[in-house]
């Protein structure tokens, strides 16, 4: 068994739908969950799913990939500043590297992150794509 199977399973709430936490003391949004508020240091365990909307804080297109990601090169990774505040590291998808810019609005989608070889599991998780489908705000 790939040792990552259980680890991936444990993180499915975060990976599939950006499940983080909110601090009941100061209202800070927290992702990834850390159970202690980085802002006020009080316990913060209330689950809170983030909207998935944000903007590109910075990005890089990877031409030389780590093992497990070779099949996807070149691909673009970014720091995404979510509208609730936290920054997440994630890939961009459905966009050419030359069309990415700092400040570009993006939205979360759930995509394949990698597979653990031909026999192993498929890992799904968040990526971000340009916000251009005119999705109504809710």
């Amino acid at each position: 068994m790939d040792p990552k199977v259980v680890n991936d399973w444990r993180l499915r709430g975060q990976r599939y739908r950006l499940e983080g936490e909110v601090c009941d003391h100061c209202g800070e949004s927290i992702f990834p969950p850390r159970d202690i508020c980085p802002e006020c240091k009080e316990p913060a365990k209330t689950p809170h799913t983030l909207s998935g909307r944000g903007e590109v804080y910075t990005f890089s297109t990877i031409y030389s990939a780590p093992e497990g990601f070779e099949a996807y090169t070149p691909y673009t990774v970014a720091l995404i500043k979510l509208e609730e505040g936290p920054i997440v590291t994630a890939q961009l998808t459905d966009v050419a590297p030359t069309d990415v810019a700092i400040g570009m609005p993006v939205e979360m989608v759930t995509r394949r992150l990698r597979t653990h070889g031909d026999e192993g599991t498929i890992v799904y998780g968040y990526k971000f794509r340009p916000l251009h489908l005119g999705q109504a705000a809710d």
């Binding site: 680890n7 993180l11 975060q14 990976r15 990834p32 980085p38 804080y57 910075t58 990005f59 890089s60 297109t61 990877i62 031409y63 030389s64 990939a65 780590p66 093992e67 497990g68 990601f69 070779e70 996807y72 691909y75 990774v77 970014a78 720091l79 936290p86 920054i87 997440v88 590291t89 994630a90 890939q91 590297p97 700092i102 992150l113 990698r114 890992v123 998780g125």
Partner: protein, 386 residues
Amino acid sequence: MRDVAIIGIGQTSVDEHWGTGIRHLMLDAGLSALQDANVDTIDAVYVGNMLSGEIAGQSHLGALAVDFMGLEGVEAYKVEAACASGAAALRTGYIAVASGMMDLVLALGVEKMTDTSGRETTAALAAAADAEYEVSQGISFVALNALLMRRYMHEYGWKREDFANFAVTAHANGANNPNAMFQRPITAEAYARAPVIASPIGLLDASPVCDGAAAVILAPVEYARTLSPAPVKILASAVGMAPLAVHDRKDPLALEAAITSSQKAYKQAGLTPQDLDFFELHDAFTIMATLSLEAAGFAERGKGVQMALDGEITLQGRVPIATMGGLKARGHPVGATGIYQIVESVLQLRGLAGPNQIPGARLGMVQNIGGSGATIITHILEAMGS
């Protein structure tokens, strides 16, 4: 607390050591340090290393080191702090000697990175980042630095070419270091032409994958002079920490751990940046050199690149860096790098740096960075004279 000095140094060349395994790299560097210090016994060995478990399938390096060095019965263990493992091993030895519990300590850094494919090495190095929230997204260590470089260029208006002098200077210095991986100069044009690994980082922004080991012997200052003709005193040893993942840092371009680590070191040593004759910084990538100069107080925020453009980082400049080639040209055998930086600084302070000697060098600062900046360890060294 006792003052601590470095009384012996040893290093292997930094290279692709196809014919030499991890145990013989440790042996070569360790024995030459013992020889340089003219001691044949030791109280403890601390081995700085990051990747032996992943790449060689070999953990438990302390036991392996003393076994093969013939240091029977000497206590030894591995210290790990990603790319700062070398400085962490040194600091562990420093604490042991300063406390009075140990008199003679061997701090050794070793890394053997070439026994595997580039993709596997890239994956192993990425383990210095947050496995669940950075590495899982396909990030490489280069890419984390590229994210910082892109943001830096965006915030302060620099172009990629403006970083060229960090690589050019390192290679110019490496050309005179017989132990350097790259002993040839490069041009700014070559830097600009280099293939992109993770935009905007090109091949010549990045330090190479390589093998090597380096070692130092520590002793109390009170005995140092009787043991060594030219001991070097450790004036400061300080660690700064920041969140493991870049995305969790309040101000990713601030290199917060370098700020706290440098300030603690200045305070311990009673010095300011202006007092230092050189700064062996952690130029794993040109952006790291830039951010380090700013965090340590040599340049204002956003102005580190200007120092390279103005030639202030050369051997003749205001703040010489990478005096023996730095991580870029000497090479970056990750867990060994922190000790190489110390060994090279000791050469400068002994006046034995050859063509790269900084005239009259008396005070040097050395900074070793773990991961993308989560652990940053700073030492300030002073020549004790002969």
